[in-house]
Subunit: 758 residues, 2 copies
């Protein structure tokens, strides 16, 4: 009966399932300035992200960091005048980076082998492009390269990038492959690379990089729709052992080359209007693996078929949520959903083989292996969202993390891992949160004892980031770490998640130990200032203390004002420290309205003025739960107001529409949850804090087929205050719901009113 | 009946099978100056060669070749005063080199991390040693390190090196692992390396080198008999990405490190007289592969058991030949047999996985995969010897070469290959000779059509070393190659071997084509000088022409005098060119007696004055068949005299007892054949040219259990001339026998006399 009503209701709004919400995706959102998103073609959780790179700022001479590098984490800045080429791997929204593998650039006329610089067109192989010609869709990208008179189109399968180049000049038509190109590149990052021309339509190769990932191997196999006429495999480096190689002309039509500085040029016989389709399968395992991926996914299909399949894949994902909203709102919403479904990425070949953290080739038996775990960001909302929206995949992500721990010489779960490497980025050990959250919310497709063992090993690995001291003193001392307070608070929270997991599987004494450890947040609370504050080994707090400053002040991506609220697992306890709920409310009111002088963020790479509300910085994650803390005070309705303001002002349909790094989907997942009207304020608990839905009506279809149907009654700008929330028709007595309320479908009604309901 | 007689005959000389001929092996033979042999521990065809390295002369600054490097092809020179350490891979007797992987050095007292130089003791971790303490046996080596007061013993399994160190000092006992050490080393040769301490008795790692082998990967797993107390994994290189690594103290007790310049130091708690046993398994596949090898081959056994097994393995090989000879002669003979059985090397893990030329991991199904094919050297006598002595292994070596061709982007058979790489060293495509030789001699364990296809592809690969021109003009022109004559002659011979193979499988037209190509030797014959001579593209011979000179004169490792005789497949035709058998005989007489001024070899690295007989240079292979050419003249007995002289004067029981590089056993195989009284003068034919046995009685047991029993009647210095040879009691009418005469056993009697029998 309920179901019937629902369908009628949906139809009433003109919804027809399957109409294709992918049309609302604007991949350019976030490509200007801070978002660090990429506009190219990819599939949900796809291994390939085939996307234009607009610059390749290298490190300075002497391999020192050049601050300009930062903005090219995704290889692309919207307002750049040139395109260097099209590479196959990109992170979505990170603040450090890597990848940019296997850059291809179609060329007509003279071929240059270095990219050149943007300010001097034709100084290299890069090309100016027609901004009006540029179009990006979920799974498709196109652009016109004016310097070469070539139309470029890109699409992708899971593991294959597919290019279609339409040539108009016919004199000299080339494809350039730059094995040196990379994101966050420095001289020496490409440790080794290799190319082999197997026949006139098949080329394979690999490269090994020492970047953010210390020991990364990536392989490709590439086919052409037309035969190569002639080719050059060039090595720009000196070859030390050449004794017997002199017998060959290695540069021209010689089918193999290895070295650190390889470039390849392939010549094709094209008539005006001819199209060259290039398909590049990639693999973390081997060239053979890349070839298998290519043969299975892309070779049987033409470009348009592959593009169609990509659209279908995105529609299947995005049509599971229907909203009643304006087109502009839909663009923002579905693009957020799109960004939230980009990573973690499938990291195994079509035959389930994958490279492990131990450098061995493994076979993923009984699960799909994933990589790209930006856990300091994503434990907050992205993983909880995937748990709700994609529980099977979320489960496999946990199995992937357990495989990682098994392969780790430390026995540790991932901190920030990608492509079979641990890069140890940021603080804490938030894999614990992700695993515990899944377990307490009923995910059962992974072995709890093995998981708990890996969690325990991770949380007790003495030489990791001040952990020995944390276990001895109950906090990380200021002398030990420049992020001592952040680290302490995050350890404490993660410890609590372990205790929750241990509790549910009957490991009571372990649960107790870690419950106690989770109270360590108290050790860095300073009653004098009412804030979390860096403490020295001798137990004295550090002086001087500027609660607005982040840099080297014991914090990371958040100052004392923000981090003092990072006790998601014991907000009652925190309020006691602060002096009660009223104090918390006052603190929040001040936080959101105070003036944060620009000096505190003007030189900070990852803070955009657009995302600042008082001292609340939405572009950085440590505050993401803060708007929902009003739910613990006497005035929960304030949550809705703050959330609404963030949703409406910090997320826009514009290339500069993200106020900070998307951080592998965390920013977008925050948007999705918040627009639905609830947020996982403390992963590891089953609780969601209620906010205020962004739309009049929302329907989210779960993987099990049931629906979460959210209706906002009296949806109107004049009625901004949540008066009451009904779950399946019954009024809720607190501003919280539980995962069990949602996982088999639910009807949530938010009743809005003109004035606050006290 | 024959068998019974044989046994009685053997017993009469006091032979008892299984008494252990390995005791006659002196691994030091060839370790001084030219031999380039190594004295360390290895098994027959073993993958590990665990041996002391006495110096690590690097390239000059700027990575230019330092001529001193040459003498360290096997890492060892007998008279050097210091030992750098003990590394696990070595070539036997090569003239270029590579390897030297995973050098270990036990240290007491202060640890230095660089090797230092020999002229300054204690300038690095290298140690002086007591020459009297040094002992080498087949499968065992020991030495006393005076600087550290440590006794070192080495032994090996197929894939595992086993070290036993007896410490006498107890203050600071360390083991140093130098990942940068290598043979033929230059700055940058180690492209990447990695170390991981799995637990206190297990360490794994790998390195990737760009040396003679362009893209080489080698892995290890190492166990200790005592736990590590503490350790240092050091990176001497700048680490560019260190952003988040600062959270760790990476140098001390941190279990993983990667980079290009790694060193590791492990500390052990030792009392005086305590022994530390270190077992290092290696693999071309993976660390896991190395660990499997270690676990299967070495972990269950103690040092003495492994040493015993190594001796048993060598006895099983060496006892198959029994000779009546003095101890000194036995030492020379069995050491030659030992050296002939060192390579090609098994190149697969215990589970049959191996790395292929295509960088993929393959499984050897139905064969054992081998590597180290120094074919320009070894097609002459080593492969023919293995075919006779080890037909099953010889067959698998051919299957390994076919796998190589299958994995080759060129589709070509190996030229000079090792460790999953082709290094393209030297001239010709002599894999054809090895395969054809096996086929015509009845080896049938490989697919002939596939083999012929690979041979044809190899012999028609246009861009290979002047081959296009050779196919067009019938010779390689002097403008094209500095070795144009050598190359032409070797192609012609190899072509003939292809024709022989084609003929026997009914590919008559192909056989005819290549039979015709094999006559190309005539195109570089100059009637004016009566010699092979470099020819220009326009058909004119090059002027001036110095038939004694090699360098850049169209030849390699042999001058025109030598190479003019390199037509093993058509000696009748060659004699016609030269003017008949008498002219050939006179040519040979002159060759062996003329004076070759020193200037023609004084600056040549690989020619030792010891190995020069007139203008015959035994240390270089192109002349190896020459002594046997007398068999085509009116005075075949001259062969016996020359052979005897070479056997007695160019092979001695002394570290300097080899007159040239052993060249992966070719020099030694020449010795074995020649001492047996016959030689494969033209591999690809079934013929052996008879010479003169070195001993009074020899028995060689074939793999099929039958015996070749060789008796020299009237064996006495006064009776140096072969009068008659009887095969199974029947006199032979020509100085040749065939493989079919030998392969199921034979009785060969050489009747000697006081004067030449004309």
């Amino acid at each position: 009966m309920k179901k019937v009503l629902l369908i009628i209701s949906l139809l009433a709004y003109g919804w027809v399932f399957g109409q294709g919400n992918s049309k609302y995706v604007n991949p350019f959102i976030g490509t200007d300035r801070m978002g660090h998103t990429f506009p190219g073609a990819t599939l949900p959780f796809g291994f390939v992200q085939l996307s234009p790179d607009t610059d390749t700022i290298p490190y300075n001479e002497g391999n020192t960091y050049n601050p300009l590098v930062y903005q090219y984490c995704a290889g692309y800045q919207y307002n750049d005048p040139t395109i260097v080429g099209f590479s196959h791997t990109h992170f979505n929204g990170t603040g450090h980076s890597d990848l940019g593998d296997f850059l291809l650039m179609p060329v007509s006329g003279e071929v240059k082998i270095n990219p050149g610089i943007a300010s001097q067109p034709r100084s290299g192989y890069r090309s100016r492009y027609d901004k009006n010609s540029e179009k990006a869709e979920a799974g498709y990208y196109r652009v016109y390269l004016t310097d070469y008179d070539i139309n470029v189109e890109l699409t992708a399968t899971q593991r294959t990038g597919v290019h279609r180049y339409t040539f108009h000049r016919t004199d000299s038509c080339y494809l350039l492959l730059d094995m040196m190109h990379g994101i966050y590149n420095y001289d020496g990052k490409v440790v080794w690379s290799s190319l082999r021309v197997i026949n006139d339509t098949l080329v394979v190769g690999y490269r090994q990089t020492n970047g953010w990932a210390r020991d990364r191997f990536i392989y490709f196999a590439m086919t052409f729709s037309k035969p190569i006429q002639e080719y050059y495999l060039l090595n720009l480096d000196k070859e030390t052992y050449t004794g017997f190689w002199r017998r060959w002309n290695m540069d021209h039509n010689f089918p193999e080359r290895s070295g650190k500085k390889l470039k390849a040029i392939f010549n094709f016989d094209m008539r005006s209007g001819d199209q060259l389709v290039v398909k590049m399968g990639i693999s973390g395992v081997s060239e053979q693996g890349a070839l298998k991926n290519l043969l299975a996914e892309a070779v049987p299909f033409n470009f348009d078929e592959i593009r169609y399949q990509a659209t279908q894949s995105w529609d299947a994902e995005l049509d599971r949520v229907q909203i009643v909203a304006s087109d502009e709102e839909k663009i923002v919403f579905y693009t957020a959903l799109y960004h939230a479904l980009l990573s973690p990425n499938i990291y195994q070949d079509i035959d389930a083989k994958y490279r492990g953290l131990d450098y061995e080739i493994h076979t993923a038996i009984g699960f799909t292996n994933y990589t790209v775990f930006s856990l300091w960001d994503t434990f907050r909302a992205l993983h909880p969202f995937l748990l709700l929206y994609h529980p099977l995949q979320a489960n496999d992500m946990i199995l992937s993390m357990l495989a990682h721990a098994n392969q780790s010489v430390h026995g540790m779960l991932p901190v920030w891992s990608h492509h079979a490497n641990e890069n140890w980025c940021m603080t804490g050990y938030h894999a614990l949160s992700v695993i515990a959250d899944a377990w307490v919310k009923g995910i059962r497709g992974f072995p709890p004892d093995e998981a708990l063992k890996a969690m325990l090993q991770t949380a007790t690995y003495k030489s990791y980031d001040g952990l020995d001291e944390y276990m001895q003193l109950g906090y990380v001392a200021s002398e030990t770490s420049s992020t001592s307070v952040s680290t302490t608070l995050e350890y404490a929270y993660d410890d609590w998640t372990l205790s929750q997991m241990a509790l549910t599987i009957g490991k009571d004494s372990l649960a107790k130990i870690f419950k106690n450890r989770s109270l360590n947040y108290r050790n860095v609370f300073d009653y004098e200032t009412g804030m979390m504050r860096p403490k020295k080994r001798n137990g004295h707090f550090v002086k001087p203390f500027d609660p607005l400053s982040t840099h080297n002040q014991g914090f990371i991506e958040g100052n004392a004002w923000t981090y003092s609220l990072f006790v998601p697992h014991d907000i009652e306890g925190l309020m006691q420290l602060m002096g009660g709920a009223d104090k918390l409310e006052a603190y929040l009111d001040t936080l959101f309205t105070m003036v944060l002088p620009e000096k505190y963020y003007e030189n900070t790479e990852d803070i955009s003025k657009d995302g600042v509300m008082g001292n609340y910085i939405h572009g950085n994650e440590p505050g993401h739960h803060i708007p929902y803390l009003y739910n613990y005070t006497a005035h929960p309705w304030k949550t809705g107001l703050k959330v609404e303001k963030i949703l409406k002002t910090f997320y826009r349909n514009s290339p500069s529409g993200l106020c900070g790094n998307d951080d592998c989907g965390q920013m977008s997942a925050w948007y999705i949850f918040s627009s639905l009207g609830f947020y996982p304020i403390c992963p590891g608990s089953t609780e969601y804090a209620l906010g205020k839905p962004a739309f009049k009506e929302i329907n989210l279809r779960l993987e099990n087929g049931s629906n979460i149907h959210i209706v906002t009654r009296n949806f109107h700008a004049d009625k901004p205050y949540v008066q009451q929330v009904l779950l399946n028709g019954k009024p809720l007595s607190t501003p919280f719901i539980h995962h069990s309320d949602l996982k088999d479908g639910a009807q949530l009604e938010f009743i809005m009113g003109k004035s606050p309901k006290i």
